[in-house]
């Protein structure tokens, strides 16, 4: 059993009680909400006349259904409009702080929380969205929940949960050029499998991880869930504290110093015990790309699509389905595979540093396929425009859009059509994920997606410098 890890310390600090069933009663310090997974919870509360217990620990924004082109109300899509209206009514009724279009702070919930300093170390954070693990980059325990649990948190600010085991994932060495946070996490998921993390919280550690910026750390923790781990976190360090200083909702002055003391106290001890440890040599990594229909079905961009017979018999049916669905063959090089669309965005890779990396590649070049660049928040969009990144994208022939989840899951008008093949900076290459039931997704880093957009086929970013 793990001992003295960040997970143990933060869990114990938030444990209210042991419930009669034997589960832990855990206090939730921060609840983030959005339009898709909350209206049903609020309707149930309306029926019983319940109230939100701690509205000041609840923040709302809107992201999943947001059109990224025409944002005039009412939205053209009546269903999207009704979700938006429901959220607006609920935040008003229950007194919840809401970052709407007018605030200049709207965006993907996992981009907004951190950039406003709402997400901080040592917190328990939940949201009705599996990529809530993103916030673990700050050294918090952050995880996705369902709508009934959203109701539990709204009404009691707490949840009934089972304690997880803790696996430390050590990334050592030095990252080669062209290898980004996205490549690290894809390599980790390839090594541990899509279900390897079930029952575990992941602690990402080692020199490579602690050299990463906060935005890169968020990319890593974001995809913990794709490896089966509901929680992924990184111990806070100077990079974390520097990032949080002077953010709008961060504590200020003496309060900051006091908070800092707490943040430092919850990091895993040097001699902490873990249930499992996995080591990854960062020096040996290469740019990664998924070829199949799960985030673990990835290869190095220089590799060929694997032979199914080299895998365990149990894994072969999904691999065979992947080959058929993606229309690729065993032994085929992934590099050079023609593409139809490129998507740069999502809670994984839509922050300023992601857009900068993409812009570096696109500067002075032209894209050969339809390319969408969707910033993660209104703030990211404004900052990118201040730096002139929008002009680089537009001159390269890409579309510069408003903030939202967009074509990561296509709940808005942005979607694939038919069997289009899309290189994407998002997190899931599931069948039908990008809006067409037969559409195909290849996950990559922003730089790799940009390089591929320029060539009109899967490209090796290392050849684009």
């Amino acid at each position: 059993m793990s001992k003295n890890t960040l997970y143990d310390k933060v869990w114990d600090k938030h444990k209210v009680d042991t419930l009669p069933t034997g589960q832990d009663h855990l206090f939730i310090g921060l609840h983030l909400i959005h339009e898709v997974t909350t209206p049903q919870a609020f309707s149930m509360m309306e029926e019983t006349g319940a109230t939100v217990k701690f509205p000041n620990r609840t923040f709302a924004t809107t992201d999943h259904i947001i059109p990224t082109q025409a944002q005039e109300r009412p939205f053209a899509d009546g269903k999207a409009e009704s979700m938006m209206t429901a959220l607006e009514n609920n935040v008003k009724k229950y007194g919840i702080k809401y970052f709407d279009f007018k605030s200049g702070k709207q965006g993907i919930v996992h981009v907004v929380g951190p950039e406003l300093g709402i997400t901080r170390p040592g917190m328990t954070i939940v949201c009705g969205d599996s990529h809530t693990s993103t916030h673990g980059a700050f050294g918090s325990l952050a995880f996705g929940i369902g709508t009934t649990e959203v109701r539990h948190v709204l009404e009691t600010q707490s949840l009934a949960l089972n304690r997880l085991k803790v696996r430390k994932i050590n990334v050592t060495g030095d990252l080669p050029k062209g290898v980004y946070a996205k490549d690290i996490i894809l390599a980790i998921i390839q090594a541990t499998g899509v279900n390897g993390g079930i029952g575990y919280a992941y602690e990402f550690n080692g020199p490579v991880i602690h050299k990463l910026s906060m935005e890169e750390r968020m990319t890593i923790c974001n995809m913990s869930i794709e490896g089966g781990a509901r929680i992924g976190y990184i111990n806070p360090d100077k990079v974390t504290y520097d990032y949080l200083k002077d953010r709008e909702f961060s504590p200020k002055g003496k309060d900051f110093d006091k908070a800092l003391e707490y943040w430092k106290s919850i990091a895993s001890d040097e001699d902490a015990l873990y249930d499992d440890v996995v080591n990854i040599n960062g020096s040996e990594l290469e740019p990664m790309v998924t070829w199949g229909i799960t985030p673990a079905q990835s290869i190095r961009v220089s590799e060929k699509i694997p032979e199914i017979n080299n895998f365990y018999e149990d894994d072969r049916p999904v691999l065979a389905k992947a080959l058929e669905y993606m229309d690729v063959k065993e032994g085929q090089h992934i590099k050079g595979l023609p593409i139809d669309v490129a998507f740069i965005g999502s809670c994984t890779n839509s922050r300023l540093s992601d857009l900068r990396e993409a812009a570096k590649v696109l500067k002075g070049k032209k894209v050969k396929v339809k390319t969408l660049v969707v910033p993660g928040s209104q703030d990211v969009r404004a900052q990118a425009q201040k730096e002139g990144l929008d002009k680089i994208f537009i001159e390269a022939g890409a579309e510069w859009r408003f903030a939202g989840c967009s074509m990561c899951l296509a709940m808005n008008p942005d979607r694939l059509h038919g069997t289009q093949r899309c290189v994407s900076t998002s997190n899931r290459n599931f069948m039908g994920r990008q809006g067409s039931p037969t559409g195909r997704t290849l996950l990559m880093s922003p730089a790799s997606v940009a390089a591929s957009a320029v060539e009109g086929k899967v490209a090796d970013i290392r050849e684009s410098y």
């Binding site: 938030h14 009669p20 069933t21 709508t147 649990e149 149990d314 999904v318 709940m411």
Partner: protein, 199 residues
């Protein structure tokens, strides 16, 4: 609803054999069906893209076969329900009329959502699941019966034992699978902890 009414002790009916590992919640309910502010229609969308072609014609899928349509227990393989946290997936299963899911392994968030809705998630090992999938495919009218308290699943004359965490068992058998009341009962302790938090 009283706790007695919520007690889940036994489930009996036909099985539905759904083969395949890593069936994600986007497959259970595709994202385009999430744009509804209630869960009431979710049963209609269960496994939609796996069951229907884009022109509405039927694909090969157990739920498209008359013999499995009325099944109450869904048999799956590994890592079922991975991906998105959408409760819509568990809601779709329940509203379709499925009362329990039995498989080798499940995503954590999906399993939590099922618990919240009183859908027992039962884990068996690979060889047991293979045997059951084979039996249900061969004899679709075979009766499957779950007894939560005893930890047994019978498929025709065959009986399998399963274990579940004491917490899950207690919440199903005791009717407290929706933990709201338990959490509310601890209000004083919750308030106390909140007042001591350093943020």
């Amino acid at each position: 609803m009283s706790l007695t009414e919520n007690k889940i002790l036994t489930i009996e009916g036909r099985g539905i054999p759904l083969e395949g590992n890593d069936i994600d919640t986007d497959q259970v309910v595709p994202a385009r069906f999430l744009k509804e502010i209630t869960f009431k229609n979710m049963g209609d969308y269960l496994f939609y893209d796996a069951r229907f072609e884009e022109d509405g014609s039927l694909k090969e899928h157990p739920l498209n076969e008359t013999k499995f349509k009325e099944g109450k227990i869904l048999f799956v393989q590994e890592n079922f329900g991975c991906g998105s946290s959408r409760e819509h997936a568990a809601q779709a299963i329940k509203r379709y009329g499925i009362e329990a899911v039995v498989g080798i392994s499940f995503s954590e968030i999906f399993a939590g959502n099922c618990k919240s809705l009183g859908i027992p998630i039962i884990q068996l090992d690979k060889s047991q699941i293979s045997e059951i999938l084979g039996a249900v495919n061969e004899f679709p009218t075979i009766i499957c019966a779950l007894n939560i308290k005893n930890g047994t699943l019978s498929v025709g004359a065959r009986e399998f034992s399963f274990s579940m965490t004491p917490a899950l068992k207690a919440s199903l058998v005791g009717g407290t699978w929706d933990a709201l009341t338990l959490l509310q009962n601890n209000e004083k302790k919750t308030n106390n902890l909140e007042s001591l938090l350093p943020y």
